[in-house]
């Protein structure tokens, strides 16, 4: 029955050597974040809404998401974390999306012509 024994907890126990990331990763992310911030600022001054309404906002959010991803994956070590941590981080944003989407489905359809013509 010894084979059935599992050590407590899901994941293998961490060996006592911490996972140290090379300095270049940190400074690389820092550079990306700074560039991203400056980019966000200047793109915001250009009018992109001629392409389609809301383009400015979309670009700003895409840059922000990219910056967030860098912080989450590298600074917060999620890239080297267990699947549970990945799932937790994703779940947080997924639930946020539920809150946004299901609330906005009300507001966006209040004067919708589907039933009122």
């Amino acid at each position: 029955m010894a084979e059935e024994y599992k050590t407590a907890g899901d994941a293998e126990h961490q060996h006592n050597e911490p996972h140290v990331i090379p300095l270049s990763y940190y400074f690389g992310v820092f550079g990306v974040l700074v560039v991203g911030t400056i980019l966000t600022y200047f793109v915001a001054t250009i009018d992109l809404d001629g392409i389609f309404p809301g383009a400015n906002t979309l670009v700003a959010l895409l840059i922000a998401f990219f910056k967030m991803a860098c912080v989450v994956l590298i600074f917060m070590h999620v890239r080297w974390s267990s699947r549970l941590i990945w799932l937790t981080a994703i779940a947080g944003f997924f639930w946020l999306a539920i809150m946004f989407a299901f609330t906005m489905q009300d507001y966006l359809t209040r004067s919708a012509g589907v039933f009122t013509g």
Binding site: E4, A8, D10, L84, W95, F102, T103, Q105, D106
Partner: protein, 557 residues
């Protein structure tokens, strides 16, 4: 109830000298404890006190509704009464009840751990509960709040002169209690399981609490920010919920119900976990469809976040959104139905014994069925227009919350009473109480379905005289229910001082919690258990001599 001579099964060699109850007698050893079992007892006492207070408000409501006129209470006072009944029962009784008492006590034992992952945070949870409850009580004594437990704007932000901010702050603080408990449970189940305790050997009680904890963590912060916005709106009068300046009162409802609908799943999922335990163990049969029940708990937790708009069908929300929410409401009923079918299948050809916990479980199935089905009626948009804001809704949610959760709570409390206190209660009185509760409950709330269908609105102190007869039935039922709920208080308290000493495993069951003494030592187990049997294993693989024990198992009253 069983043989007085404890049949010693399992790994228990002898009674330990010190249990968690006798491990320190000072006030400090209780108020600064890190032992999850002592924290559960702290919750038991305070949650019961709130239940009594909420029940007092309920009595006032039913007394007022004996007559069509608003004679016992003025309308303004009646508004405060039902509001406070709702707030206390929802936030300070139902949401904490099973998780904070039974969950706290049992989860570490059921998984074979010494304690939860974060014992100090567990204690902090209780202090948040006390702080929030204390502040709310203080506000109630100052004059209370009259907005309904739902705090709808613009009444709550602009017009109500009652203690909205104080009570809101109390609920806000209490929310942290919920969040920290949920956080603790999730981490514990992930990292603290004993060797051999795989996910699919976990008792379904643990799965149910895991699902509940997901809801607590994802939902409670939203009510926190909602209450914060409500309080700020009362202070600053910006008008984000005021249509006169371009705000939207429906926005408040969206934010409020985003939490408060999943909150009802916080209020029922732990109860379902208890029922799974009771049905299987008192049929002495492995639960039917273990994985289905386990995953249905998770499904309820997830889908429960997608249906909140069914509280807002007639509020002014768009019809399209209403359609989506209505459809998803039908979908969310499916996992609950799966559970009910699996429980029924477990009972089939089981060796059923009608001990008090089993009575509560059987009552639960019937009453939850009614409550759940009426929820489906309310989820269909055509019917809901007729039934909204009537007593049909009141009856529906009382069937699931009282007929469901409260009965499950009582069943669980009786089931694990011997484990928690080390004493046996009187089986005779407990059965009497269970039956009185069942009769009283149905007499109270079934007439309310009819009243609602006939059109009696809720939250009114007075009503048209033609509704009086049914209201009298309802109040009579409430009186019986009240008596039924007081009786356990008496015999359970009596048992603590004068009850027979409980053996470790009075019903001879395979669960891990029955393999340590009653009451357990502070560290739960003398040695870390190594789990080699499946959940609800009534065969020889469980390692207990159950065949032999079953012969000696007798029911005595």
């Amino acid at each position: 109830m069983q043989n007085a001579e404890a049949i010693n099964v399992g790994n228990i060699k002898e009674e330990p000298k010190v249990s968690y109850l006798t491990n320190g007698f000072t006030i400090k050893s209780w108020l600064l404890t890190k032992d999850h079992k002592r924290i559960a007892i702290l919750y038991l006492i305070t949650v019961s006190a709130f239940f009594a207070l909420g029940g007092t408000y309920a009595s006032l409501i039913r007394l007022e509704l004996l007559t069509p006129q608003s004679d016992l209470l003025q309308s303004a006072t009646y508004n405060k009464t039902f509001t406070q009944h709702g707030i206390i029962m929802v936030f300070f009784f139902l949401i904490p009840s099973i998780p904070a008492i039974l969950g706290n006590f049992l989860i570490p034992i059921m998984i074979g751990a010494k304690d939860l992952a974060f014992p100090k945070i567990n204690l902090l949870s209780w202090y948040f509960y006390m702080a929030g409850g204390g502040l709310t009580l203080f506000a109630l004594l100052q004059g209370g709040v009259d907005t309904g437990w739902t705090f709808y704007t613009p009444y709550s932000t602009t017009f109500s002169n009652s203690y909205v901010m104080a009570v809101g702050l109390g609920i806000f603080i209490n929310g942290f209690s919920s969040i920290l408990t949920g956080l603790n449970f999730i981490v514990t189940v992930h990292t603290m399981r004993a060797p051999g305790m795989t996910w699919f050997r976990l008792p379904l009680f643990v799965w149910a609490h895991y699902a509940t904890s997901l809801v607590m963590i994802l939902g409670t912060p939203v009510i926190a920010i909602t209450i914060l916005l409500l309080a700020l709106e009362r202070l600053a009068k910006i008008g984000i919920f005021d249509p006169a300046i371009g705000g939207d009162p429906i926005l408040f409802q969206h934010l409020f119900w985003f939490y408060s609908h999943p909150a009802v799943y916080i209020m029922i999922l732990p109860g379902m976990g208890v029922i799974s335990e009771l049905i299987s163990n008192f049929s002495r049969k492995k639960i039917f469809g273990y994985e289905f029940i386990a995953f249905s708990s998770i499904a309820i937790a997830v889908f429960g976040f997608l249906v909140w708009g069914h509280h807002m069908f007639v509020s002014g929300q768009s019809i399209y959104a209403g359609l989506v929410f209505s459809f998803l409401t039908m979908v969310v009923a499916i996992p609950s139905a799966i559970k009910v079918f699996n429980w029924a299948a477990t009972l089939y050809k089981g060796q059923i014994s009608y001990d008090t916990p089993m009575l509560y479980a059987l009552f639960f199935i019937g009453l939850f069925l009614i409550g759940g089905l009426t929820g489906l009626f309310l989820g269909s948009m055509g019917l809901t227009v007729h039934l909204t804001d009537t007593y049909f809704i009141v009856a529906h949610f009382h069937y699931v919350m009282v007929g469901g959760q409260v009965l499950a709570y009582l069943g669980g409390l009786h089931y694990w009473w011997s484990k928690i206190t080390g004493k046996m209660y009187s089986e005779f009185w407990s059965k009497i109480a269970a039956i009185i509760i069942f009769v009283g409950f149905n007499l109270t709330f079934f007439p309310q379905f009819i009243l609602g269908y006939l059109g009696m609105p809720r939250r009114y102190a007075s009503y048209p005289p033609e509704f009086q007869v049914l209201n009298i039935f309802s109040t009579a039922g409430a009186s019986i229910l009240a008596i039924g709920l007081i009786i356990p208080l008496i015999y359970l308290t009596y048992s603590i001082f004068f009850g027979a000493k409980a053996p470790a495993n009075p019903w001879l069951l395979p669960g891990l919690e029955w393999r340590t003494s009653s009451p357990p030592p502070t560290e739960n187990f003398e040695e870390t258990p190594i789990v080699t049997w499946e959940a609800y294993e009534f065969g020889e693989e469980s390692g207990l001599d159950l065949e032999d024990a079953r012969n000696k198992y007798k029911v005595t009253v």
